[in-house]
């Protein structure tokens, strides 16, 4: 009995120290992330319109969510987000894989190239958006100049006033900025693959294509999944890029859900409705994360067997 007490004492001393170490950071996160999140949920159940203070803040149950379900602009924003996500993530994974494979083969100057491709990832998204907006400018843009030079167009084209054309600089800018990141994640995965596996495959008579299908892809799957998760979650939250590049326009035809939420909150000052949209973004993001983590888990255990 006395012995048991004593051992508990030694263990709880370590636990107490651990809590003392963890608490400041944890309290910070609770205070500025979790508590606001709860507040958002609470807020989303109210009408809270800073422009119409006389309406007060009545509790309205799920009315804000109901409004979202019948809001054409909301569904449009979801659609734009989906277009952006699928478009950029697909391109980034394919190009990233090609770049990673090439980097893995090209030994000379790999360090330098690796540093060079990191730069777009590291610069502010706002800057990337502006660079591409400039390149697609109707008058000053080099895109038009090149297209006219090679004879594909006759007159300068105004990209940002056509709903479908405005996507081109948006998606190109994101692909330009984030492909290097995907490539680096995949390159790390590639470098973990043992060379002897390729040698074994070659001895078994597999050509380069077969080696890629049977050795590279299966072993790279975890890295690909990780890249896929991070890119999808990021793309779903896209804000800076589109805010700066198109402002969601023309009209609202490139407006993603994060931008619509921002406008509802800080342009229209409809905090209740905006909060409901925030909660929806949160739930979808977390749903995606959970879905992926589950898929990832399943695949990892399968690989282990």
């Amino acid at each position: 009995m006395r012995d048991a007490d004593r051992t508990v004492g030694a263990e709880s001393r370590e636990a107490r120290l651990a809590w003392a170490f963890v608490l400041p950071a944890l309290a910070t996160i609770f205070l500025i992330a979790l508590f606001p999140l709860a507040w958002t949920v609470w807020e989303s159940l109210h009408v809270h319109d800073l422009r119409m203070p006389w309406r007060g803040q009545p509790f309205v149950w799920l009315a804000n969510y109901a409004e979202a379900m019948t809001d054409g602009r909301f569904w449009g924003a979801m659609l734009h987000t989906a277009i952006f996500t699928v478009g950029t993530v697909t391109l980034e994974l394919v190009l990233g894989l090609i770049l990673a494979l090439a980097l893995n083969r090209a030994y000379r100057g790999r360090g330098l190239v690796r540093a060079a491709v990191l730069v777009p990832w590291a610069i502010p998204t706002v800057v990337a958006a502006l660079l591409w907006r400039f390149m697609f400018d109707a008058q000053a843009g080099i895109a038009n100049a090149v297209l006219i030079d090679i004879g594909l167009m006759e007159r300068p084209f105004v990209w940002l006033i056509h709903a479908w054309a405005a996507w081109a600089p948006v998606i190109l800018a994101d692909v330009w900025k984030m492909t290097p990141f995907v490539a680096l994640l995949l390159l790390a995965g590639l470098q973990n693959i043992d060379d002897s596996l390729y040698e074994a495959a070659r001895i078994d008579g597999a050509g380069p294509w077969r080696q890629f299908i049977h050795v590279t892809l299966p072993l790279l799957k975890p890295a690909i999944l990780v890249a896929l998760i991070f890119r999808t979650l990021d793309a779903f939250r896209v804000f800076d890029l589109i805010y700066v590049l198109t402002g969601g326009g023309p009209g609202t035809s490139t407006e993603p859900i994060a931008l619509y939420t921002f406008n509802a909150l800080l342009q229209n000052l409809r905090f209740g409705y905006g909060s409901a949209l925030s909660v929806i973004v949160f739930v979808v993001t977390f749903g995606l994360a959970m879905f992926y983590i589950r898929v990832l888990d399943v695949d990892l255990t399968e690989a282990g067997e």
Partner: protein
Amino acid sequence: MRRLGRWGPVIVVGLLVLAIAFPFYWAVVSSLTPEARLFEAPSLFPRQLVFDHYRALFDERNFWIPIRNSLIVAGNTTAFCVLVGSLCAYALARLQFRWKRPILAFILAVTMFPQISIVSPLYLLLRALGLINTYPGLVLPYLTFAMPLTVWLLVSFFRQLPAELEEAAMADGASRLRAFWEIILPLSLPGLATTAILTLVYCWNEFLFALSFTLGPERQTVPVAIALFRGQYQVPWGQILAAAVVATAPVALLVLLFQRKIVQGLTAGTVKG
């Protein structure tokens, strides 16, 4: 075929690097081109280089103010995160206590929080505290993404150090705190530096919070200032591009200097993009 096998990758890498580098090249060249020339037919090679835009950027637009703001906010956020986060990360990496795994999972989950989901309460909170358009009013929200990021990265760095070193220190008579201070911290300086650099870069680039919680030029950060540049008649592209070059230069420099460490941090801690 042999040739292609050898040179194929080099060509692919070369082309992609060219594609990646071109926008930078174009931005630099254009920022050095006189305003009038910008709207003529663009040419790949500059015919005349002038520093007008940079001069205007600092003389007329006081661009050093957003730079100062960004440095203050990013610096304070990073310092706080590394200080508080390293203790937390050490406990999570090394000490035994019951809630370790849930806390780690929670912190990972918070790194996936969409910023937009907490903009509205943070706005109301900061307004209530009178912190809109102040430095603390930016540092506090920045902690939401910087703190979990720092902790997560540092946990993976601390785990790489052999546990026996602290055990040896404790057998030598050092307390946990002393062992952390004398043995762990000095040995994880590279990890701490990498973490600090990544956190700085994230803070330097942040846009949504800075846009939402500042009101005027006196507290705007670099990305917000650039995004909100307006000209009298048309978009002041020359100055915007000059500002873009100025905003890019420090992060580009950091990345080029510390690329090996940064790649390690990115792939080990599986950081968000």
